[in-house]
Symmetry: C2
Subunit: 218 residues, 2 copies
Amino acid sequence: MFSQSEENYLKAIYHLSLISNKGISTNSIAERLETKASSVTDMIKKLSEKEVVVYKKYKGVKLTDLGTKIAANIVRKHRLWEVFLVDKLNFSWDEVHDVAEQLEHIKSEKLVDQIDAFLGFPTHDPHGDPIPNKEGDLKIVEKSLLSTLSKNEKGICIGVDDSSSEFLQFLDKKGITLGKQITVLEKEEFDDSLSIIINDKKMSISNKIANNLYIKKS
Amino acid sequence: MFSQSEENYLKAIYHLSLISNKGISTNSIAERLETKASSVTDMIKKLSEKEVVVYKKYKGVKLTDLGTKIAANIVRKHRLWEVFLVDKLNFSWDEVHDVAEQLEHIKSEKLVDQIDAFLGFPTHDPHGDPIPNKEGDLKIVEKSLLSTLSKNEKGICIGVDDSSSEFLQFLDKKGITLGKQITVLEKEEFDDSLSIIINDKKMSISNKIANNLYIKKS
DNA sequence: AAATATTTTTAGGTTAGACTAAAAATATTA
DNA sequence: TAATATTTTTAGTCTAACCTAAAAATATTT
Ligand SMILES: [Mn+2]
Ligand SMILES: [Mn+2]
Ligand SMILES: [Mn+2]
Ligand SMILES: [Mn+2]
């Protein structure tokens, strides 16, 4: 059995591994968990003892198959709970993350299975992130940052990179939600801002926004 | 903010206070939480610092108004989650307690309010225990142990004292569930066992069972 | 009221998980 | 390559929440 803290470390390493697939550095874990590198080293040793990570001093850390499965299961729970909160309890997508951070640690396999069924076996969470299946696998969907689209390309908004409540609320205000079609009308050389059409309305989008919005090209 | 452990102590004291209304003894808390008396003394001092209990050395402990409110809120969450598990996720009444022990510590006022509404503002949990309202009040319902009924008295089964899964499963097997009518046909002097009618069927009930089943006389 | 038993507190330890500061290893730059 | 910078580890503390053993207070018997 893993403590809440151990689970958070596993999850952090899991997320960092999706980008780099090299050994995950002590510092990057520390930064993600808002803790100190020395604390990370301590914990890594413990996780290594428990055979959920492989650790070589100064060389970073990697999840074992077991570690990956455990981490994916926590992410699965996190995302299922987020769907539950939005679909069943009228939370908005910018309110769910902190509660899901707590709920993801509840230990009950039956609970997860039943929530999954109750929600109709959702494949994605409210932020467009895929929900791992019981075995821990998740299918990667082809997605591009809005900022990478060229003039006259279009696609469907399918996810966010930054899912802070500030960003999500900003998107709400602009009428940008998942599933909406976006067409790029113009790309400004000067500041990399975009002129787009969404909801049959033309609007200007800064590069910072376009760098945090995922599009499925169509 | 209170830690999980602090919350468990408050809840234990709250439950013990419903019976005795005198100072709650160190030993009784230790027994309920399956910990040692010395640990209880430590924690009591901390809770006293935080002004949720009043503590006089050797004289036991009492919840303050604040402490009572906090404890009642944890009980409220516990019981709401139990209703959720049974009503929405097809758990049976003997499976919910351990999961609710975890869920009761999730911190989100909105979550509790929404679950409450989602469940239709239930007044009782699956074991017949009343759910405190937002202010922490709960209405006490007149109830009698089955063992206190005399020959030819009858009533509705409205709760259990022991809610261990063994006992609950035993009741299931016997067809005894909340809401059922029970009529006492005979009371044996010898072993205090009862002959009762439930579901139009006559059956014999041991004193141990009759001592753990609450009836609303009718 | 003494003697005895029980309960409660105190004193002193342990462990998990954090921290700071300093040492050691690795990476970068000159 | 040598000097410098950065990253990582080690060493030593701290706190929350537990523990055991012994001392102190209270309760119960004789
Ligand atoms: Mn989230
Ligand atoms: Mn999410
Ligand atoms: Mn319960
Ligand atoms: Mn209950």
